[in-house]
Symmetry: C2
Subunit: 390 residues, 2 copies
């Protein structure tokens, strides 16, 4: 089925990072205000809300987040559900919102994601994050996410000759792009040598191969196409969306050099949009680790399996390359407040498409792609957006 009716009319994020003294509800409200009243969209126009957050139960002993966050953001009373698929939580909320508009239930809705992660120690945060893996077979046995992605890195290195230097190049690119992004957690460029120096977290992944623990929130407003022009001269249409799951238990995987759910969700989204990878001007992908960006660039069809690292080395995925990937800096350098990430990715694609990405603007910006995945790739959501006037 083709999508007919959904447009993005605003998108905003808070600063990502260690937001000392700022609660999840406060970050959430800030992102909502930035995406609504601050751009001339009255809160009374919002008819429902779709909330992404991953693990506030373990981070701040808070479930039932949707009405709580909505209330604090001045939107008490709206229909609001929390959507969770680990690190893909934000994009699952977005996808549910697209269905809500396409079904005719609502004209104008809010999608917002957030996570407050620095309220606990890094060890506790790592334990909470591990709840995204299979507790019975994996997390209870000590497997953490750096370990999982180290497995993927080793497999990719062995099968395709990807090198530790390639991984480091992804970190260098991320930091370079984030250096001009005022909302990024890390706004400093790093050299290749610096990226390859720090301690190993899980061999072959060093500190700079890993996205950080972060606080932050992001929000977008979706409307029916009919209403979109009320809010902006440059609406962005949702033209394709795909979601897939895969085995949770890594023992059931045949291959660690590709994530099946990413491939499957991408195919669904391309088919729905009637477009292919060649039609995408740029992509925002889920680079929770450097190897994840390289694999994602292959899984989404931008490059053939095994050729992601070469594309990175050749500058194809750089901000000024032919296929920019993570032009604002990605999870790796902008930060990864889990529930916010998928929504923030949509904000980045939206702002690039409307030409408001400042120093991080990509040259060609008619059609953009976002890839948000969860856990060890057991969930993936892909969305394709296109500027209405493109």
């Amino acid at each position: 089925m083709p999508l007919k009716n959904t447009s993005i009319v605003s998108g905003a994020q808070t600063k990502f990072g260690y937001l000392d003294g700022i609660s999840q509800r406060e970050m959430f409200a800030e992102a909502v205000d930035k995406a609504t009243v601050e751009v001339g969209i009255p809160k009374k126009d919002i008819q429902a809300a779709f909330v992404g957050t991953f693990i506030p139960e373990m981070l701040i002993h808070q479930g039932h987040s949707a009405p709580l966050l909505l209330d604090f953001a001045g939107l008490r009373g709206l229909p609001a559900t929390r959507h969770e698929a680990a690190c893909a939580s934000g994009a699952t909320a977005l996808r549910a919102a697209v269905m809500a508009i396409e079904s005719g239930f609502y004209d104008t809705v809010l999608v917002a994601g957030s996570e407050k992660m620095t309220s606990v120690s890094t060890n506790r945060a790592t334990e909470a994050l591990a709840a995204a893996a299979d507790d019975m077979f994996e997390s209870s046995m000590g497997l953490t996410f750096p370990g999982v992605f180290a497995i993927a890195a080793v497999a990719h290195m062995e099968k395709y000759g990807t090198s530790p230097e390639d991984l480091a190049l992804a970190a260098v690119k991320a930091h370079k792009n984030a250096s001009t992004n005022p909302l990024a957690q890390f706004q400093k460029e790093i050299t290749l040598e610096k990226a390859m120096t720090p301690r190993y977290i899980a061999w072959p992944l060093r500190l700079f191969d890993c996205s950080p623990i972060s606080d932050g929130a992001a929000a977008i407003v979706l409307t029916s196409k009919e209403k979109a022009k009320q809010y902006t001269d440059t609406p962005v249409d949702v033209v394709g969306t795909g979601q897939a799951s895969a085995s949770m238990n890594l023992c059931d995987r045949e291959d660690f050099t590709s994530f099946e759910a990413s491939v499957s969700a991408s195919k669904t989204a391309y088919k729905m949009a009637g477009l292919g990878p060649k039609d995408m001007d740029f992509a925002v992908v889920h680079d929770c680790f450097t190897i994840a960006e390289i694999i994602a660039s292959e899984d989404i069809g931008f490059f053939k399996p095994g050729e992601g690292a070469k594309a990175l080395r050749d500058g194809v995925t750089a901000l000024d390359g032919d296929k920019p990937i993570n032009p604002m800096g990605g999870l790796k350098a902008v930060g990864h407040p889990v529930g916010a990430t998928g929504v923030k990715q949509a904000v980045v694609v939206y702002r690039e498409l409307i030409g408001e990405a400042g120093a991080n603007q990509v040259a060609k910006h008619d059609t953009g792609f976002m890839h948000n995945f969860g856990g060890t790739g057991a969930s993936c959501v892909v969305n394709i957006f296109r500027r209405s006037d493109a």
Copy 2:
């Protein structure tokens, strides 16, 4: 907008109760099998899944439940998100599924809910449940759910003269109905005297005023009307659905004798269905505590404010009354595995409507109503179902 396209074609639940040695994934898979292959619906027909579970993070250290549970149930790979709104989680999943079908995304989808609560001590379970309230202002201060509903009971007693005996009558009715429900946690009738004897949990609520800690799962299959006849001769249509939220923080409430979100969600669902309370043949309401059933019977418009207890006393809400409420026994006596509850409620309404409720069959069964709420009533989902041939 009227709903045009969604039918329920199957529904099943596991036994609810202390399911020793049975994990959440096993219960989930059992419910899915009972709602699909065991009634002739091939799993390959299922295109997406909508999963309700409240707090597995704190009960079994497991987030990212949707792909995990789907995988174990033989549905690996499907698009699947976990939907959470505390005790209303199950119904939020159902509602998202309705939007998915109405939008044309899918023809046939699974909605399944589950919770494994007896894996931790009762104290830990109570702590986990408290995450449905506002941690900053309430749960961290020691407020638990029996306390919250005790406040509601006291307010209702003071304003309307509802008595402790009225509360106990709700428990007696619940146990009576559950006594012939083979899947109920408590299958024993109790006398009024017995209901009024045990210790107070939070005055005026005694042990028998509280729903129990339970394990369990439930599942339904929804399809487009066009496909429904492939699966059953008696499809049940979703004719109305409403959702609302309210303030989380009890300090922001003006009244404890009614839950605003219940009233609002009911109005939305009635309007969508073009029906009113008088058109409902029976209702399944969220009786996490006895007082909650009495208040819900008023909030959904079956009785005027303050007249719910009288209707109960007069037998109007009994299985053989004019307006049966919770004909299978409700949360109070069937059990309340939180994420399963909203889906189980839909199963009950479905089975009553198609005339397969056995000893618990209500006499008139064309149109049924379900009311699932979350936390201290900060979330509520209402659905109205009608037999296609009615």
